[in-house]
Amino acid sequence: MDRYIDIMRSCGADAWEITDTRTTGWEFYFIKHRLDQNRAKNVEHIKFKAYKMSDDGQFLGMASADVSPTDSDDDLRRTAAELVKRASLVKNKPYRLNQPADYVPVKTELKPLAEEAEAFIRTMESIDETDTEDLNSFELFIEQNERRLITSEGIDVTEKYPSATVDVVINARKDGHEIELYRLYELGSCDGKLLKHDIEELMQFGKDRLRAEPTPAVGQSPVVLSTDAALSVYEYFLDNMNAAFVLRGMSSFELGKEISDDYTGDRITLRTLRELEGSPVNTSSDIEGAPVFDAVLIENGVPVKYIGSRMFSQYMGLTDSFNVTNWAVSGGSMSADEIRTGSFLEIVEFSDFQVDGMTGDIFGEIRLAYYHDGKGNVTPVSGGSVSGSMLDNISDMKMSSETRRYVNAEIPAVTRLEHVTVAGA
């Protein structure tokens, strides 16, 4: 690291940053329960950033480059000099780099890769399969990461954190017909209980999909989301509290003003979290060296704090801002069972459910849903699609009091949108 620092100090930049990220990882790929391939990696990625102020002080430019640990000192000097030259061509309104701060350490446990890998393999082998529902294939990625950020402003912060990804495909079959369902889990470390429960639930979904009928064209209908698709709904709120969105005029969320004029449903409370159990991004600082902390962004449906990157935050005059790592949405006023009342479509599997943060558009093809007709009848259905807009759903959406964690977020376990158009299969 010392040679990188020396080179950046002497390159002529007005400010600079170096991020050095080292990753060791083990990977295992299974088809059925046989090992398809094993992989490992040991890599180091170094990023240089050079900042240059224009002569008149009106603009600050930044240019970045990935350099290789195998680069010679001469290579690195050439790269740094080119960065300074490029940065001088970039004309952004000036902003300050983050200053050193008191970072509150997060609780992370870096287990040996072999130990963590064994936990994942044994978890996957413990999944309860039947003659008609089983694992088609799965891929395990287990990593240990160490990220060090050093800046010309005096920041020198190192984050060590584990991360893991599990890619799972399950099959279900009946009368010669076979279907599959897919999940991608991103975790901090092995949460065997969560994985096992979720994959076994997925197998039940597979079983139900085999007996599903074509989705009826019910037109505009309440839709209930109780799987990871609901993340997209809440990411819409997070996007619209981001300084980059607000500054560009893409967000209509105003501080101190209710998001909706006529709330009849649950009012959202959204907050950032420095630590979330099981998250793969539990760090004390963000990628720009800003300290991460718990903060309320929306309280009872009223935006109270925008948040975002250093540059956009300063452009908006925000203090105590950072790039969001973990976040959470508080539970609502009703239980999951209370939300599941009347006639509605509970969709548990999409091809690819999306809520566009910029437009609020909602869309997704239905792979498995449960149609509740309001008279006590529940029918598994498949096919067709949903479409709609968050703009039509904010005022009366409902969130369960129970919550559930996905990747780096904790959200209501069950979410109900009242105004979604369902195109039948």
Binding site: E27, I31, R39, N42, A63, S64, E180, M250, A423
Partner: protein, 477 residues
């Protein structure tokens, strides 16, 4: 000029050959892929401007593949010292042995695969480019891109931002085994103009892109994309929601490409055949579309962002006719899947980068042209939509389901465009129905390469897709 092959990779060859020799004492097969791909990325908006040397495909590193007892294993590193190959060999061997020990502890069985053939081949390819991303003078480019963004802002009072992105990557790859010595160097570039508009709390965006084999000289095409990016966004501000239903549709070449990619691109990736995950395996030599449907896939099918000379397993690039006049002929295949299926690899073994596993992946996936004019196609529609612009797609190869998120549909009634626009549009359906209903195809054809493709939700690689205007019947919502 020729895009010069990496001096860094040339300096690694001797050390990598020694590494292979050392590892061959323990393993029955060893291959090495080394990469040194440099790039340039520029993003200009009204609120922030960035310049970087990173693109989706920039990388420098090495992946070593070894084979023993029916199992292929890989090790990725980016600190290889050609003066000390024995150190790398010891590191690789130690970690692999540790993994084998764990697998033994867990009682894991191996999906045994035959040893790859290692036929002798030597190849050195340097493709043509006018400029290189690593040496291009940026001052003029940045000024031009800023001017495009500024001009976009002046085109409507509803403009919120106009984002111009330009990327260029100089790919250099070296593949080595006992008997193969392959080197390639080429440059591809891509760019886009995105206009964001807002009115009365409603936001929309329009988008147009460029891509091709070549250097930053291609960025000059971006200015020509501004008008559509802005006008389409403004049209979408006034768009209605579509009434869900089945319609006659005409797909623009971009939407045609999305269908090609999602419908039969993923559906015939033969690593999915190995896992029993693709319906296509049961439909070879059977009808899957109308007579008007012929589809090609391969790095040699087009000169664009993924037109390499050899893939990441050292297999020479190909051109596969996947569908011939509506009949599914074959899929595409990486080397290990080919060994398992008893077929030949097609040059479609790709990695996200040297740190990632090879999967069967698409390159250029393109429908052939037809004999109709767009005017005749529109005139033939009683009530339907001309679909333009793609946001995303998702496949379901096990059932041939397809989901395409499309920017907008232009209403056609009684053979004429009415001027009414619907947006956004989600097209879903059963692939053989969608392709079976193709009744007209235009003479012209376009290829698009500004996007990326994932396997599931990861393993992102560059692909292109495209084709002509197609008339078919689709379910829209």
């Amino acid at each position: 000029m020729k895009a010069p092959f990496s001096e860094y990779l040339n300096s690694q060859v001797s050390g990598l050959r020694k590494l292979i020799t050392i590892l061959r004492e323990k393993y029955d097969y060893v291959s090495v892929l080394s990469t040194d791909s440099r790039g340039l990325g520029i993003s200009i908006s009204q609120h922030s401007k960035t310049v970087s040397s990173e693109t989706m495909t920039t990388e420098r590193g090495t992946v070593v593949r070894v084979y023993k007892n029916g199992l292929y294993s890989e090790y990725s590193l980016n600190t290889f010292d050609p003066e000390r190959p024995e150190a790398a060999a010891a590191e690789i061997t130690a970690v692999m042995d540790a993994q084998f020990g764990l697998l033994k502890t867990c009682g894991t069985n191996v999906y045994e695969t035959a040893k790859m053939t290692d036929e002798s081949a030597e190849l050195f390819v340097e493709k043509e480019t006018e400029q290189l991303p690593e040496t291009t003078d940026l001052s003029e480019i940045i000024d031009k891109l800023c001017a495009i963004s500024d001009k976009g802002m002046s085109m409507s009072e509803y403009m919120l931002d106009c984002i111009v992105r330009a990327q260029s990557t100089h790919i250099c790859k070296l593949f080595l085994t006992d008997n193969r010595y392959l080197r390639q160097s080429y440059v591809y570039s891509e760019g886009s103009v995105t206009s964001i508009v807002g009115r009365d709390g409603q936001n929309r965006f329009g988008y147009d892109s460029i891509s091709g084999l070549g250097g930053p000289e291609l960025f000059s095409q971006l200015e020509g994309k501004l008008d559509y990016a802005v006008s389409s966004a403004l049209e979408m501000l006034d768009a209605d929601r579509i009434v869900p239903g089945e319609y006659e549709i005409i797909t623009s070449p971009e939407v045609t490409g999305l269908i090609a990619h999602e419908a039969f691109g993923h559906g015939v990736e033969m690593d999915m055949f190995v896992k029993g995950r693709a319906l296509g395996a049961q439909y070879v030599d059977k009808r899957v579309g109308s007579d008007l449907v012929t589809m090609h896939e391969g790095a040699l099918c087009a000169e664009d962002v993924t037109s390499y000379a050899f893939d990441d397993e050292g297999v020479l690039a190909g051109d596969v006719t996947e569908i011939d006049k509506g009949i599914l002929k074959t899929g595409i295949c990486d080397s290990l899947s080919a060994l398992r299926l008893g077929t030949e690899p097609t040059g479609n073994g790709k990695r996200e980068n040297f740190e990632h596993k090879v999967y069967t992946r698409m390159t250029n996936t393109i429908f052939d042209s037809g004999s109709d004019t767009l005017e005749d196609m529109i005139a033939s529609v009683k009530f339907g939509y001309l679909l333009e612009g793609c946001q995303s797609g998702m496949e379901d190869p096990k059932h041939w389901g397809i989901q395409c998120i499309i920017q907008m549909g232009r209403e056609i009634r009684d053979g004429k465009l009415t001027g009414k626009v619907v947006s956004p549009v989600i097209m879903t359906g059963y692939v053989p129905d969608l392709l079976g209903n193709i009744s007209m195809a235009s003479t012209d054809r376009c290829v698009y390469g500004s996007g990326g493709c994932g396997k599931g939700y990861k393993e992102w690689v560059k692909v292109t897709d495209g084709g002509p205007y197609l008339k078919t019947v689709g379910r829209l919502g």
